[in-house]
Symmetry: C2
């Protein structure tokens, strides 16, 4: 194992997950083990760093119990941001400012835990670093519930979200079966362009659960007429129909289904259309066209923060991914993201490597079309075999006063 | 302990909960112990019973492991209904039919696990039974996430719902703190007229969590102008504001806040207005008036079916309430509901009794106004002391393939 002689700074960026703090814990632990003098946390990512907002993590994580508590705390302990670095060709000012701050704090390693946009920041920073002959190592640690990062087998954060989604879907299906009348339940699940989270609803199909009757992913075009015909046919077979839809399902012409409703959609800082309401729209449509009892359920924020039902696989791998990033930096590597490589399915085994960030940033990995069953009545065995190990195992919350204890945010 | 010489029939009615099956397990276990020959389950409550849909529960619950699995299964294992018995003065037909079916199955005890409407059914059945000199004992077992039944200290089902709501609120507050910008999160929680469920959000306030900034219950009139002024003032103190609102909050003139939105509300079989959208309406209002980032989160169905985070207090008490109902019947009592009586707060201890159903049916117990803090910034210590024991302890799900196992529905 290489050594780190200077300091480390680590930040969290993008949407919160149940596992991002476990990666932070992994970075801290490995950083200390690798000999780093200080492991700084930047508050609210690069946005905070630009304002000089750094804390010495040793002052916050004073024992292994606190490290365990951090691993069990959802959202982003250091705070997050959705700051987009400009291209350095167009504007070097923030780069110069950042590198000055890094120099002032004797930073040898810069780690950024995040998704696609965060990996783009690592790409830009490492390119600029190369340009100015900086010796700072820039490393990305993957984190996104969306599981849409390339090269890595899967992303930390996905497994816990998938476990919550599958468990919630199972409980909602159970709930839907109680009345002896025709009813349709539409569960709306996160996923703008990639259907990984929605696909996770398929994991609840087992001896004790029928699973969702249909699963609609954004990887395929959605057709309203076929949908209505399909639901009508299903309702002739069974009284309670439960379907899972991704928030990002869209028509062949590219319009999102949620845009068909009268709810306002809006554009976020990265130019992504914020989606809401596909489930509500379809529930209203079915009610109108087929005149049956319908309800739309958004699993919403809990998908990314329900650490009370985190996956042990996920929390462990998030920790190891953080550690792998530090170890790569200690070996002098820069401009990479830590990646999880699946070594075998049975037994499920993974190794941790790094990969050139340029081949990851700004790419989007989607669910292979061959894994989506014809007729949208589920995912193939290939998907189940891929996703099942990611939801295995539980991380017991530390229960205090009847509720999971968290590391409180930095004030 | 008295003896039961004939058979028992038990049904489930009204909305599902995480604890209703534990009461069913308690009825089954106590019924067998009291000597009942058969414990029948009616499928889909009285509605199914009228069609002669009964099953012998011994064929389904064949060992203690299955009993444990049943206790951990959300929703209603026997299926539910929202059937309203007519007054027997107006229409004796369903009564005659029911009593014939009960006679044919040599039923000595009729137990109905449910909420307000179900207790009204028990009242009507016991009154008719008295009228026709029937020896059948009619017993209600309380079950409702709403906690709005009179006489009983609290209702089975409430504790698990409260635990999920408090944990989810804590996780959502954590999630809301990650961005360094003004934002308002509105968590919409179930509760038509009684605010018990929404009040449970207050339980997450602890050393590691600030708790919701405001909690709006239907026990008090809601004033839009005061609300907006209050949110504005809060936002000057802190960036992330989180509030909890009951779906049933209403203006002084009686209109529900959700009715102010353009979403359709509709009337259910009991004439209750189905509520949805108070949170979404208020989020849109704040966005328009105060121009800040807002989001509305409905905790929806999971509040009543998230048995993966059930409260041990609740599951245990639901079981004991079922048992208490059987034991009362064995002593020859009829026309009562099993009630939980709090014996002491510290240590928390309860006893199980029965109470005349006429003093319970059609009543609604609300949160005492004295427990709601002025300014709606939380619940008093009296409420916390009342509710905390109800969310204590965990019932470990039996995890299979990474997910909680359930007793599958009867096919």
């Amino acid at each position: 194992m290489g050594k780190i002689t200077g300091n480390i700074v680590v930040g969290q960026s993008g949407g919160p997950t149940a596992a991002i703090n476990s990666s932070l814990a992994g970075v801290y632990k490995a950083g200390k083990e690798a000999g780093a003098d200080k492991v700084y946390g930047m508050l609210n990512g690069i946005q905070g760093l630009l304002k000089g907002k750094l804390i010495d993590l040793s002052e916050k994580i004073t024992c292994d119990l606190e490290l365990e508590l951090l691993k069990r705390t959802p959202a982003a302990y250091l705070g997050s941001c959705r700051y987009k670095l400009p291209d350095h060709e167009k504007d070097t000012a923030p780069y110069e400012q950042l590198f000055q701050i890094l120099k002032a704090h004797e930073i040898e390693v810069f780690l950024y835990i995040g998704g696609n946009d965060s990996m783009d920041s690592i790409r830009k920073l490492s390119e600029y670093g190369e340009l100015v002959n900086s010796s700072i190592k820039f490393i990305g640690i993957p984190k996104t519930v969306d599981n849409d990062l390339e090269i890595t087998d899967h992303t930390p954060g996905y497994g816990s979200a998938a476990k919550f989604i599958a468990a919630a879907t199972k409980e909602i299906i159970r709930d839907s079966l109680v009345y002896d009348q025709n009813n349709l339940t539409i569960i709306e699940i996160m996923g703008r362009h990639a259907g990984w989270l929605t696909a996770a609803a398929a994991l609840c199909k087992d001896k004790d659960c029928q699973g969702p009757d249909r699963i609609y992913l954004p990887e395929k075009n959605f057709d309203k007429d076929i949908f209505l015909k399909d639901i009508k046919a299903l309702q002739q077979e069974k009284k309670s129909v439960v379907i899972a839809v991704s928030e990002g399902i869209h028509l062949a012409d590219g319009r999102f289904v949620c845009e068909l409703s009268d709810k306002d959609s809006y554009i976020d800082e990265f130019g992504h259309t914020m989606l809401t309401g596909a489930g509500a729209y379809l529930a209203a449509l079915v009610k109108k066209e087929l005149n049956c009892k319908t309800r739309a359920i958004e699993l919403n924020t809990l998908q990314r923060c329900a650490s009370h039902l985190a996956s042990l696989s996920d929390i462990t791998e998030a920790f190891e991914a953080g550690r792998a990033g530090v170890m790569a930096a200690a070996r002098g590597i820069t401009g990479v993201m830590a990646v999880i490589k699946r070594v075998s399915d049975s037994p499920y085994q993974c190794a941790y490597e790094t990969h050139n960030i340029k081949q990851i940033a700004n790419m989007e990995k989607k669910v292979p079309l061959s894994w989506i069953k014809e007729g949208d009545d589920g995912l193939t065995e290939e998907f189940i075999q891929y996703a099942r190990p990611l939801i295995m195992g539980e991380v017991m919350p530390i229960m205090v006063n009847g509720l999971p204890a968290h590391m409180d945010n930095i004030k």
